[in-house]
Amino acid sequence: MGVDVEVTPLPGIGTREDFTVRSGQRIGVVTHRDGHVELIVSRLDDPDACAASTPLTAEESNTLASLLGAPHLVSQLAEQQRELDGVHTTQLPVQPGSPYDGRTLGDTAMRTRTGVSVVAVVRRQVVHPSPAPDFAFEGNDMVVMVGTTDGLASGARILDQG
């Protein structure tokens, strides 16, 4: 079932795009003419007004989008692996400018160095399952990994520091 996004022009400022969620609140985005965006969430007692209107940078909105898109995947994977003792699923971000921003999965040698498997990469809300070794990372990618606690910790360090 789709959601009806209402687009309202704000003369001199930009546009407001929002939709009403089940709680009766409006959630959406105000896009200013210079391109910067604000996340808006309306108040519960007064749907005309906003409880939050938070300015977000491009990176921040990408991160928020992947945070909202990725948990379903992680919780599904976690559910599947519950019976296996000592195996965990987690998602870690590739920070923009980190050593692997722009390099491939093969370059990380993740499997060899930590025993951790990269099962998916979430980029701008799109899930890329089972990425091949030549899959190139970008800043703000969310890397979904399965492995032991120690392995995942080393994996996080590798993504962060190389």
Binding site: T8, P9, L10, P11, G12, I13, R16, D18, R26, G28, V30, R33, D34, E38, I40, S42, D46, P47, D48, A49, C50, A52, S53
Partner: protein, 396 residues
């Protein structure tokens, strides 16, 4: 040589002083406009420190200030937005004009300032400050509110109406008869229509004329075009401000955005000078006699603006709180009131009492407006909504 040094030092002291005032305004969270006016009042005739030797510069700078204020206002809107606003909310625009222009006109007539004075004061009390209102909405995080498009529509309509009002006022202040004044309405409406059509169809041509990838060239071209158009418009008695506004509308898309970024600091500088010069030309000793009238006018036009916003927001389906928020957001008056009064004062055709009354009125409204926008919610919650809750007890 010596006088150049003195002039530079005076200007330096003026700007530095304005910088301190601007910082103070930021600190206490109000618009800097009232403080600039106060600064001007303090410096000018009858004030603490009369400025000498820089009048010529400040005079032309304040004219440039008006041109830049209106050019940037025009740049903010696209012809599309203006036409949509006009089609959808013209009734709100008329209600706004009637409710808020009448008190000013009535006061001018009571003071014996004649029809011309009434026309000036009608404009002074009618138009909200787009600058202050947009800033307050952003600061209070209300851009995503449901009633905000209504508030913005009212501002758009007022600005558009100014494109007709200012030429008519300029013509009448020039001392021509009523008949020529009426024909000025026709000329102004025609000019606005032509510009809107041109902007809609050929906006890219106008943009291409001023656009350049090199910031320096772009700045010179867009500023040059604005002053040229403003100068020609002034010669034709359409008013420099309106010429700049229409040029701003005609420039569109990314050109408009880039021009805004480039010109903003210039606008802030010259607009500050404009407010100071208005203060300079106002004798502070004439303020006490008009203080009572200004306060009364402020009270009445605060109520009429709240009523305007309340009514307009109700039309668009906002609830009680939203309606009052829309009304209070519109209360602030500022740059337009000063521009209108400035035209009257420089022409010398209208009553000189307009300057101190407008200065006092704007001082009050530029401070009351943002405060009203802030306190309206708690007040309405405590009064209107509570009364309603008492009269309609919730079902168990």
């Amino acid at each position: 040589m010596h006088s150049t040094g003195l002039a530079l030092a005076e200007l330096g002291a003026l700007f530095f002083g304005l910088g301190i005032l601007g910082r103070l305004a930021l600190r206490i969270g109000i618009s800097p406009i009232p403080l600039y006016l106060l600064g001007g009042l303090a410096f000018g005739q009858g004030g603490l420190l009369p400025l000498g030797g820089v009048e010529e510069f400040t005079m032309i700078s304040s004219e440039i200030g008006v041109v830049l204020l209106l050019l940037l206002l025009g740049l903010e809107y696209s012809a599309d937005e203006l036409i949509t606003g006009l089609k959808r909310d013209w009734v709100a625009g008329i209600v706004d004009a009637v409710l808020n222009a009448l008190p000013g006109a009535a006061v001018a007539l009571l003071l014996g300032w004649g029809p011309l004075g009434a026309l000036v004061m009608a404009g002074v009390t009618w138009v909200s400050s787009s600058g202050i209102v947009a800033k307050v909405l952003g600061d209070l995080g209300r851009l995503g509110n449901r009633e905000t498009p209504v508030v913005l529509s009212v501002l758009v309509l007022e600005d558009l109406a100014m494109a007709v009002y200012l030429p008519v006022l300029t013509t009448l202040l020039a001392g021509v008869g009523l008949l020529v004044g009426m024909s000025a309405v026709g000329v102004a409406v025609l000019a606005v229509t032509v510009v809107l059509v041109v902007a809609l169809r050929y906006g890219w041509v106008v943009s291409a004329v001023v656009d350049s990838p090199v910031p320096e060239v772009f700045l010179l071209r867009v500023l040059g075009a604005a002053l040229l158009v403003a100068g020609i418009a002034a010669e034709l008695d359409i008013s420099a401000a309106v010429g700049a506004f229409l040029l701003g509308i005609a420039i569109s898309g990314s050109t408009a955005e880039n021009a805004t970024k480039l010109l903003e600091p210039l606008r802030d500088l010259f607009a500050a000078i404009f407010f100071v010069v208005f203060g300079l030309n106002t004798d502070p000793r004439q303020i006490p006699p008009v203080l009572g009238i200004a306060v009364a006018l402020a009270v009445v036009t605060t109520i009429t603006k709240i009523a305007t916003g309340w009514w307009a927001a109700r039309r668009q389906g906002a609830a009680t709180l939203g309606r009052f928020r829309a009304g209070a957001a519109l209360v602030a008056r500022g740059e337009f009131s000063i521009i209108i009064a400035g035209l009257a004062v420089t022409s010398g055709a209208a009553d000189p009492g307009i300057a101190p009354l407008t200065a006092t009125y704007v001082l009050l409204m530029a401070i009351v407006g943002p405060v009203a926008a802030r306190v309206v919610e708690p007040i309405v919650r405590r009064t209107v909504l509570r009364r309603r809750a008492v009269s309609m007890p919730a079902t168990p």
